[in-house]
Symmetry: C2
Subunit: 176 residues, 2 copies
C-alpha cells in the first residue's frame, strides 16, 4: 500500500534567489526508519493559455536551465507577498504581453517535478483580450507572438514547443 511520508527533521542547506534546498529526514507510514530526502522549495507559479482572435499568445525567452530559447505560455512565479493566484496570473499576462483578459477560467494545477521540487503551477485560460503595453520585470527579456491554434499544436507535435507547463495548459484548455 502506498503511504504518505512525514517530515520529521528539516534543515535549510541552501537559500537562493528563486529556490531553497532542504535536507530532510522522513518516515513512511508507521515505519520508524528515517528516509533521507533532498527537496527543492519553490514558491510555485502561474501559466496562462491566452487566446486572442482564435490565436494563442506565446512568449519566447532564453531559459538558463534548458540552455535554449523556448516558446512558452506567459508565466511567472508566485512571489509577490500575499498576492492571490488569479491576480498573479493577470499581472504576469500583462507584464509579458500587455494584454488584459475579460474572461478567466481556472485549469487547475500541475506539479512540474513532483519527486524533488515543491513547485505547483496554477494554469489559467484567458479569453476576450484587450491589448496594452508589455512591461517585463527588470532583466526579463521576452518577445511575444500570436500563432494560430493549429500551428501551436503542430509545434507541440514537432517538439518546437517542449515546455511542460505550456503543453499541459494547452491540453487542459483545448483537448479534453
Amino acid at each position: 500500500m502506498i503511504q504518505k511520508e512525514k517530515t520529521v527533521q528539516s534543515e535549510t542547506i541552501f537559500s537562493g534567489k528563486v529556490f531553497d534546498i532542504h535536507s530532510d529526514e522522513a518516515t513512511i507510514g508507521d515505519d520508524p526508519n528515517l528516509q533521507h530526502r533532498e527537496v527543492i522549495i519553490h514558491s510555485g507559479g502561474v501559466s496562462i493559455v491566452a487566446e486572442h482572435d482564435e490565436k494563442i499568445v506565446l512568449v519566447r525567452q532564453y531559459r538558463y536551465g534548458a540552455g535554449e530559447i523556448l516558446f512558452e505560455n506567459p508565466a511567472g512565479k508566485l512571489d509577490h507577498g500575499n498576492e492571490d493566484i488569479l491576480s498573479a496570473a493577470k499581472r504576469e499576462l500583462e507584464e509579458e504581453t500587455g494584454y488584459h483578459a475579460e474572461t478567466w477560467t481556472s485549469l487547475g494545477y500541475i506539479y512540474s517535478t513532483p519527486a524533488i521540487c515543491t513547485e505547483k503551477i496554477y494554469l489559467f485560460f484567458a479569453q476576450n483580450l484587450t491589448s496594452g503595453k508589455p512591461h517585463p520585470d527588470e532583466g526579463e527579456i521576452v518577445e511575444y507572438f500570436e500563432l494560430p491554434k493549429e500551428e501551436v499544436f503542430k509545434m507541440i507535435k514537432s517538439g518546437e514547443i517542449c515546455d511542460a507547463k505550456t503543453i499541459c495548459g494547452l491540453m487542459r484548455a483545448y483537448k479534453l
Copy 2:
C-alpha cells in the same frame, strides 16, 4: 532580440543524491555584464505512455516534493552510466510494471522546469505489451493500474492527474 546566455563561471555549491546546484555567472549575447544564475543540475529522465488493450498503464506513488500520492506514467531517471535513452525507458517500464513492449515510438522530449533546472525528460509511447513481474528499485514503492483511455483523460480534466510529464506524454501520444 532574444539572445543566448554563456556561462563564464560555475561553482558547485551542493552535490546531492538526485541533483546538484551550481552557482553560475553568465553573459547575455555581447553584453559583458555578469548575470547571477542558480541552476539545478539533473541527469534527465524518461517517461512512458504504455498502452495495453486500449487501456493506459499508470503508476501511483508518493512524491515527496508534491507531498501527495500521484498517478503518473511509468518514469525514471537517466542515471545508469552510459545506458542509452530507449534502454532506460524499457528498463523503467519493466521495473515499475513488469511489462515488455514490442513497439516503441519516440514522443520527443520536454523540459520540466526550464528556467532553473536542466532536467530534460524523453517521452515514449510503448505498445504491444506482454506482462511480467515488476521489480522496483530498492526503496521505491509503486502500485500500477490499467485504466481506459477516456477515464485517464477525465482524470487530467478533473485534476486527479496533475503530473506534468504524464500529461505531456498523453498529449503527444493521443491528442495531436
